[in-house]
Symmetry: C2
Subunit: 358 residues, 2 copies
């Protein structure tokens, strides 16, 4: 089993998804407790893994893909007694993990990639299956970190001294196995001594901008200002923002992009004021199958995320919205800054493998 390539991380940033020391569980930074507490959870059971994704203990499209691959490797290890039982358990776990969050395509992509490994390994070779899944999970993790770093290098070319960037939600180190996607260019610029400023939308209802983005930027020494989501349009009107940089949960073939709810309104305001709007994402976020945004399922989350509320009132709480490709200046990827549409294999963006129907 080849050792995964080692990608330089950022010393001030936490590792969100790792193995425990004995390699029998996946250790995650519990993001529900941030910024007050930096606590870690060791996950070895499928039920706990699904709960961790659903309750956003681990979140961010790239990170949940990496996490799912590592959980499947853990389950393969646990099922080493019987070849048939092992594969049944892996496939059942894959189906449950896939159902936890419908919008982020990285989750389905990582699961599909893990299941494809099963086709390459002798079904009776229980140890070989276990080792292959572990190697694939390590590869997905190392590749994600490497893609983050490459996104940061490409995106840093957009930033000069004193550049102010507006971002929404958290597409940083906490959302990936590396230095993030939308925040990676700022970390790379900062490493090079280029001082930038980040405006972070609070991002209701779960406040990932205020709790997570501001936390990791402060930790890395990058200057940050939090604002209420409603203030973003006025900020863009004020001329204080040079560019908008957000992450993505899924990018359709035509470039329409699903990202945290609120992104679309920011894109409209950026366009109204001539501010460039970039989406940063690794290859795993590009859905090479869904033709446009209308085909992307949008997860609705629990009304209690908006509590407290008066009696007798309904709630609409979609987790994501769709920003049309026409509002997106460019896509900052590990292959460079690209432009839609993204036909299969076009633009050097690797489409995901075909769905395996699990």
């Amino acid at each position: 089993m080849p050792a995964p390539s080692v990608v330089p991380h950022h010393s001030a940033l936490p590792l969100v998804v790792t193995w425990t020391a004995d390699g029998r569980a996946v250790r995650i930074l519990d993001q529900r407790a941030l910024p007050e507490h930096e606590a870690y959870l060791d996950i070895a059971e499928l039920r706990d893994a699904c709960d961790a994704i659903r309750t956003l203990a681990v979140r961010g499209a790239p990170a949940i893909g990496v996490f799912a691959a590592m959980v499947l490797a853990t389950i393969a290890e646990q099922g080493r007694g019987d070849a048939y039982a092992q594969r049944d358990q892996i496939r059942a776990a894959a189906a449950q993990l896939r159902a936890t969050r419908p919008t982020a395509v990285n989750l389905a992509w990582a699961i599909d990639r893990t299941l494809a490994v099963l086709l390459r390994v002798d079904a009776h070779d229980v140890l070989g299956t276990t080792q292959a899944l572990r190697a694939e999970a390590d590869a997905i993790r190392a590749e994600d970190a490497a893609m983050c770093r490459a996104i940061g290098e490409h995106g840093a070319s957009l930033l000069g001294a004193g550049t102010s960037v507006l971002t929404h939600c958290n597409a940083g180190a906490l959302a990936t196995a590396g230095i993030g996607t939308a925040l990676a260019p700022m970390y790379v610029a900062h490493e090079r001594g280029v001082r930038v400023h980040v405006f972070a939308n609070e991002t209701r209802p779960l406040r990932q901008g205020a709790r997570l983005t501001a936390w990791e930027l402060a930790r890395a020494g990058v200057s940050a200002t939090v604002l209420p989501d409603g203030a973003a349009a006025g900020l863009l009107a004020s001329g204080r923002v040079a560019l908008v940089l957000v992450g993505a949960d899924r990018i359709a073939v035509n470039g329409d992009t699903a990202n945290k709810v609120g992104t679309y309104g920011v894109a409209l305001a950026a366009r109204a004021h001539g501010v460039p709007f970039y989406v940063a994402a690794p290859a795993s976020t590009f859905d090479g199958v869904t033709p446009h945004g209308a085909g992307i399922p949008i997860e609705e989350r629990d009304a209690r995320e908006l509590a407290p509320l008066p009696q007798g009132v309904a709630v609409w709480n979609p987790a994501f919205d769709i920003t049309p490709a026409s509002l997106i200046t460019g896509f900052i990827t590990d292959r460079g800054i690209l432009h839609s549409p993204f036909a299969d294999g076009a633009n050097g963006v690797r489409p995901p493998p075909p769905r395996l129907g699990v």
Copy 2:
């Protein structure tokens, strides 16, 4: 002293600003405690009045204007011993009340109108001054309620059975001495048996949409759905909203409108999807002096409204933003549905009296 004309209120809605039974204090519904508790505060001291405005125990541009006039009448009553002291106290109180919130022009308008009374009454007539200020405060209050009712009647013409309206913050009964401004058309429609639906943006950071708008709509039996501010653009894209209806804190001569932060982004999204965007406001909200939105001061509020936050992070927390007149379909006023610009006296909108330099 003529009795103020009585305006029919809505039986299910609270009265936000009234006199106490003995007439020696102003009773307000403490909106900081809603929706959990419906508690009232009796305010007789200037310091408490300023605190009530600053901490948003009483809020909403029309309501704070009414409240300020009633507080000045209360202070006139307390200063009945000495003619010179009485007028000094009134003028000093006016200056302090005026400074509490810079954006809402109704506050300055009501104070100017109260001070103008002093010019009409013999300075030595302490009792006459007291009675005149009380009468003016009652008139301002009754007029506000009447203007709300008229706004509701005019605005209801835009609503048919099943119409869905999106609103931001609270421009309802809780923001006025009557049935509200932006919500008044829905109350009038509801009284006529026309069933409408209201989508209410949560409105961070103080959640006046979720806490106040949803509360008063539910109380009046109007169907309501709360959504995070970031979801508004996606909601408008979905085609489920027939029109947007918001209040205003100040309307410049050219029609540029200051309203709760987030309004501008909603207006941009409404325009992108061809959804009509209306501002509802009484005459007291029209600033006949400031030529355009760039001249309207924008209040910044305490960073703690966005707590909890990580260490070392800055906050930008403007209370308002400016929606340019070009995005506003029409202004629903007590005189009908009007269009900008609003030169002094144009369109039947009464400009405020000249500033008295207090």
